[in-house]
Symmetry: C2
Subunit: 101 residues, 2 copies
Amino acid sequence: MNAEELSGQLAAIASTQRLGIIAHLVGEPLHVSELARRMEMSRALLYMHLAKLEAAGFVTGHLELSDDGKALKFFQAVPFELSITPAVIAAAVNNEEGTNG
Amino acid sequence: MNAEELSGQLAAIASTQRLGIIAHLVGEPLHVSELARRMEMSRALLYMHLAKLEAAGFVTGHLELSDDGKALKFFQAVPFELSITPAVIAAAVNNEEGTNG
DNA sequence: TACATGTGTTAGTATTTGCTGACAGGTGCA
DNA sequence: TGCACCTGTCAGCAAATACTAACACATGTA
């Protein structure tokens, strides 16, 4: 873990919208349109947020075929634990590996 | 801890520059001009970053009088531990208090 | 055919954030 | 007086991010 990776992870969840997305996907996978309705958010915007979350590894998506033959893109939250302390930050900035996860 | 507070905390450290500032201030308080030199950053910019970090509680600053009578603004890192998991996020989004620190 | 549902992408705009340069003011010292 | 330090703030520009509206295309159903 270096400083860029760490700040990338943090930036991915440093948003109330994206925290809301993760909260919605904890324990209950949802497809994009359904999630967009629940979050009262446009699909285009939701795709942008999901892309950032998926790139950082906080959610994962997969296509699923519904009973009536429609392709649904389901997303779910990925289990993780991020523990941040001053020491963890100092280690990351000094580019040391294997310090946190 | 609600979603806004949590995302605020995360946003405050979701920056390689600000991670670098914290790393510099771990175990060694520095005054602004000295820190600006070590980070190779303008003071104006550093003030902006320090303001965000201080508002979020990651660093704390105080004026100190040097031997030769100059006022120096020292900053130091505040000890903390932020533990982020999907459950913590869900709790924050649902506005529950007392779940994480 | 037409409508409701879904995925996925793009162009363009609005808002926020990061950053620079310049300023005003203070102390100590030669 | 002038120089070398320091704190603190502001206007303005640059770049990144968030967001909207619109498009193309697919399936099932009336």
